[in-house]
Each structure stands twice: as C-alpha cells, then as structure tokens.
C-alpha cells in the first residue's frame, strides 16, 4: 500500500520488482500504465500539462488505495501519478495490484484506475498546437466506469 505523486518518470519493471520481491504469497501482479495519447490529428503536438492539488492528491490516492485493499485480498499495491508537462507517449500513471489470486489482482487494479480518474484532483491542460491550450473535459464514460464499482464489494474475486 503506497502512493506517490511526482514530476519524474517511473520504471514499471523496477516498481513491480521493488513492490513484490521477497513476497512468496503473490501469485499474480496486474499493472496498468496510462500514456499520453496523440489526439492531435492536424493540430500537431498534443503535449499536455497536468495540474494537481498538492496535499489533497496524496490523501485521495491513499484513500482509494485503502479502499482497494479493503475490498480485495492484496499482498501489495502501488499508485504513482505524475504531474507537470508531458508529451505524447509519455507515461502518466502507474497502478499495480498484487494478490495470491489473479482475478483479485485484475479487479483491484482496474478499480484503482477507474476510481482515481474521477476522485483524484488532477486536471489536464492540452496544448492545441497553435500556441493555445484547452482544459480537457471530464468524460461521462469515466464516471460510468467509476460508478460500476460502487455496488461491488469485490468479494467474488477472493475465491
């Protein structure tokens, strides 16, 4: 159970190794990496700047992480979220869930990223390529994805 908010990039393999090594109860590790997609079309660069709310961000990520650990039998979990300016192809976020059982690892990891998307105070300012920039709007599909977990206690994945 650990969360980090940082400007620097991260190394998925190293994070997985550090989080899980020495723990022989782990049968499966699911990880998710979010990348900056090039939504550019003809607008050229689709670089973006991620703003966040220092203090509250860490608090919300820790709350989400604790919720995942309460719902699923996890041996280890991690959320790393970057802020600052990022370019297409750059890594934005890393979520890892490790469990004795693979279904729990998958569900917890999916839950973590779905909840994070709607509950962690980050905002994306997308460069439009003409020197201007626009705030990315929240998507209804993200709300729907997060809501999916509201009535789900996750116990079905504990086997």
């Amino acid at each position: 159970m650990s969360v980090r908010v940082q400007r620097e990039d991260f190394d998925v393999g190293a994070e997985i190794a550090a989080l899980t090594q020495g723990n022989m109860q782990i049968g499966g590790i699911t990880s998710f990496v979010g990348l900056v997609r090039d939504m550019g079309g003809n607008t050229g660069s689709a670089a973006m700047t991620l703003e966040h709310y220092p203090g509250m961000t860490e608090k919300m990520l820790a709350t989400i992480d604790a919720e995942a650990n309460a719902r699923w039998p996890l041996e280890a979990s991690l959320i790393v979220h970057r802020y600052g300016r990022l370019e297409p192809g750059d890594q934005i976020v890393l979520v890892i869930a490790a469990s004795p059982h693979r279904a729990a690892a998958f569900e917890a990891c999916h839950f973590l990223i779905d909840w994070l998307k709607t509950k962690a105070p980050f905002w994306k300012l997308e460069e439009t390529g003409d020197g201007d920039a626009r705030w990315v709007e929240a998507r209804g599909s993200d709300d729907a994805a997060a809501a999916r977990w509201s009535a789900n206690t996750g116990k079905e994945a504990a086997e």
Binding site: G34, L50, E51, H52, Y53, G55, M56, K59, H81, I92, V93, I113, L116, K117, T118, K119, A120, P121, F122, W123, K124, L125, W135, V136, E137, A138, R139, D142
Partner: protein, 83 residues
C-alpha cells in the same frame, strides 16, 4: 480561511490561492460562492455554473451546503481529468 482555485477556475479568477476572512453572513459553501461572485466580473463568470464546479473542504469532497466556520481550506475546481 484559505480558498484555492484549480484549472480553469484558477485561470479565470486569476488566483491560485488566497487567504480571506469568513464574510459576514456566510455559513456554507454556497454562501461563500455567492459572496465570491460579488467580487468582480471574473469571479461572477467563473463561478456562474456551480454544477460545473467540484468542492473540497479541508481536502475532502464537500457540497454546496457544507458548513463553514472560518478556519477551513476551501478548494474550487472543475471535474477531475487525471489518470
């Protein structure tokens, strides 16, 4: 109390963070927002549609009717788009 603005709320108000005293008569977040709107057109415009605004009080999600005593950290921001 401390008031913070993020994303386009920060840009439109021109303020990231400010310290204010709880205005007389303000008892909740809705009252604070009404008071802020009276400070000038940039505030009136930025805060016009409260359905587009998310609220945190002391770094926990809050609502328009969350009570304020004067020593809180209140944050106003649009729906989140991280991850």
């Amino acid at each position: 109390m401390k008031v913070l603005y993020f994303a386009w709320l920060r840009q439109r108000t021109g303020i990231g963070e400010e310290d204010i005293s709880l205005p007389e008569g303000v008892q909740d977040v809705a009252g604070l927002i009404e008071w802020l709107k009276g400070r000038g057109p940039e505030f009136a415009e930025a805060l016009a549609d409260t359905s587009a605004i998310r609220i945190a009080v002391n770094q926990e999600f809050a609502t328009l009717d969350t009570s304020l005593g004067g020593d809180e950290e209140v944050a106003l921001f649009p729906p989140m788009t991280g991850g």
